[in-house]
Amino acid sequence: MAFWKLFSRRRRYEDVSVSIQEHLAERAEELMEEGVPRAEAERRARREFGNVTLVEQRSREAWQWPTIESILADVRFAVRQLVKVPGFTVTAVLTLALGIAVNATMFSMVSAFLMPHIPGRDPQRVVVVSAVSPYDNFLPDTYRVSAPNYESIRADRRVFADTAAMWNEIPGSLGGKDEQPEAIQYEAVTPNYFGIFGVSPELGRGLQPGEDQPGRDHVVVISHALWARRYSSNPAIVGKSIRLNREDYTVVGVMGADFRLMLMTPQLWTPLTLTPADQTPDARRTRKLMVLARLAPGVTVQQADAEAKRLAAQAAADYPQIDGRWGASVRILKDYLVHDFHIAQAMAVMMTAVGLVLLIACANVSGLLLTRAAGRQKELAIRASLGASRWRIVRQLFLEGLTIALLGGAAGLGLTWGGVRLMRSLLTFTYAIATIPIRLDEKVLLFAMGATLLAALFSSVAPAVKASRTDLNADLRSEGRAATAGRNRNRMRAVQVGSEIAMALFLLCGTGLLTRGVYSLDHQRLGFREDHLLTAGLLLDGAKYPDGPAQARFVHDLLSRLHLIPGLEDVAVTSNMPATGAGKVPVHIDGIADPPPSEPRRTETVVVTPEFFAASGIAALRGRTFTDHDDVNAPRVAVVNQRFMQRYLGEGDAVGRRVKLEVAGTPQWDQIVGVVADVKSYSEETRVDPLVYEPFAQRPANQFSVMLRGQADPDSMIAPLRQTVAALDAELPLMDVMSMERVIDQQRNGDPVFVEILGTFAGLALLLSAIGIYGLIAYSVRQRTQEFGIRVALGANARDIAGMVLREGILVAAIGSAIGLVLALPLGRGFDAMFPGIHFSSPGIYPAVLLVMIVVAVGATLAPARRAMKVDPTAALRIE
């Protein structure tokens, strides 16, 4: 029935027309019978009837579902109109496609980094309890918790229904014996860990109560990624034994692919074993546990936070020496992960940039539509006189804009698909970044649709309203005679282009400042030689290397064998490579009183073998560095950096003084034998912290890096290094085997990529606003052709005309630039606050950007100006 109605509609519409035509004819005939001449009769019949089109339309509307049909008709009309002007359509669609694509691509990253999917049921009830460091560290409120403090949180059942602990980023070796050992990172978790999320493994089972007891703890749950990569997704792996840290573990389960938590996504999980030793006061110094809890029913995050702070205050009161100034903080797991990833600021900068690009794109399309509407003035006036209501005309123009936006959105989605793939290939610089799934998912689709609708709105509402305000008489009568036609319309376009320029300038200044800041970091002198260095990490496990002497023996053997590699110049072992951020401890200086506990005197601490200074090219400024004689039997010695000497010792008397570091074990006095040059504490920051070097032989470590300097390409030493280590210990894996340059590059953590992407956006914005200026001036020149003709006829020369055009373009550019510049002025300080440790204020950027903008504005105005110069007065005045 409904279908029949739809099909029968065409007949109905004819009915109406036929009836009306007959009506008019009959009335005319009647009038003629009264003696009125035919022409006059027909005219009167029509006049009495009124607006035929409008009556027909109203009659048809009786049959239509609220106007959907008329909208469809308008869309069809819009498409027909757009097909007729392919150049205009393609330009507008591509402009919006670019704007929408950069936004959707950036949003795919926002969605992946800031809206992570948390597995399990009710993820909003899963919280992280973290310690808050009293020191001025990076993200001080994301610290791990000590085992005794974990116990007191766990006991608090009224607030935390179930609490689990996790020790993450544990380096380990997987495989060995008959297969190549592989360095992995894993997590040790309490057996209830997966239960906190309410997630069960995809295969096998999770950890069971009691499996955290020594003797029963050799079971592992492996991640989906490890299962697929190393075990070829073979389900038979469950129940099999695998080799982990030289011991046999039984695989009991495989987690699903969606069980990932950003930075906390390990390769496998083992039970976390907490012993009575973990409950002693001394264990409070070791803050290594992530604490996750499910909130008790009815408890809010704020209440939990208050409770955790109460517990921390209790611990601080009970153990003032250790927990004295430490606090606690509770966050929803999702918020914690996002906060810990520390990318929100960068994302905000990026989203602002792409948002501006989209606005500029919209302003350009809006300008194009305005130009077109001006050209269609008469068409619109005729439609209005035929009975189209103003609303109908606005709707028509809006639908044209919407059609363009929808086409742009569709094309933009195609570009987004490519953009997402590009992002995925760019963002692989660290393991953590690489594990974040960037996808074109339904969230991104929804966002793209929203951006499309906004683009439609921004780009078409102004022209539609403007164009509908037509004065019928004026528009129908005018034959384009007015000498300076469309001044008013031009003002709107000038405002648009001016704001485009302001936005582009703002974006360029921001990008310039960021690029400058990151560039100066990338090119700062770190204080050591990064080239021709191969590095690798080693972790000596407690099973084979239980104590200092065993570790020192291994390092001694390793170094003497590595010296046999041909072409190798220096080789050393260090607990921390230069410029990679070393750990800090309080330090005592013999003869100088300790500062108050509220401002402890702290220093970075590094242990190195003698050749370290030669291998890294760090020069001794006073005294000497270490030799092979500074061994375990010799008097304890230390070397400090220049900053340590300047800040804590004063000039002159560094060598010979004694320092004591508060390290684990028994702190001992070291005599300073030398002062060496400063190295930046971290390659991505500009600061240099005080640093104390100690000989590895006098304080061995189980975790360290090997640094090999050779004449050849560092990669050529990889194979000999691997063979040497394997010959010493076949089950010992090497971690992060890479050149020093690559280490630094990884520490940049994508900053150069970030700046490159941002630079692309700024370039896009500049290009779009150049097109905007060009469009504005070209249009204005076309409109003023007659005016120029008259001026030339009255004696103006080509130079005057070109000057007028250029002035118009430059005036708009200058006003836009001034506004953009004022808005951009606080950016430098804003970035300094957003990204601590980097200095962005560099005033030189502003004039440089302004110059670029003016050059571009003049360039975009030049072509239309030249056209204006060639105006032939006779031809111009003839145009009608």
Partner: protein
């Protein structure tokens, strides 16, 4: 089109009611319908064509009328509108409620004249 100030706007449903009543006498085409209403009301009610044709379509949509191809009095092709059974029932219902309403209005207007009180 200048309007005669003596012509009031019709109230809602009045035009439909008159159309239905007129078509009850016999099926007719649009022009005849308009003329009939004009004459029957002694020129007091002048129907604007602008509202007649949309009203006809609304009544057809509600299935109170149906149309068929036919010829006008002058022999030109047009559409003849005819009352349906539903239209007839609707007309009777509306007429009675209209009469009640009209009686009501008349009485109220009568009471408001003080000299007759």
């Amino acid at each position: 089109m200048p309007r005669n100030p003596d012509h009031r706007d019709l109230f809602a449903g009045a035009l439909e009611l008159m159309i239905l009543h007129t078509l009850r006498l016999k099926p007719m085409h649009g022009y005849a319908l308009a003329k009939h209403i004009k004459h029957a009301s002694d020129q007091l009610l002048q129907i604007e064509e602008g509202s007649l044709y949309p009203a006809l379509q609304r009544l057809m949509r509600a299935e109170l009328l149906e149309s068929e191809s036919g010829v006008s009095a002058k022999g030109r092709p047009t559409r003849i509108y005819r009352l349906t059974d539903a239209g007839l029932r609707h007309l009777e219902q509306e007429t009675s409620s209209f009469e009640k309403m009209f009686t009501g209005i008349t009485r109220v207007l009568a009471t408001s004249r003080p000299q007759e009180a």
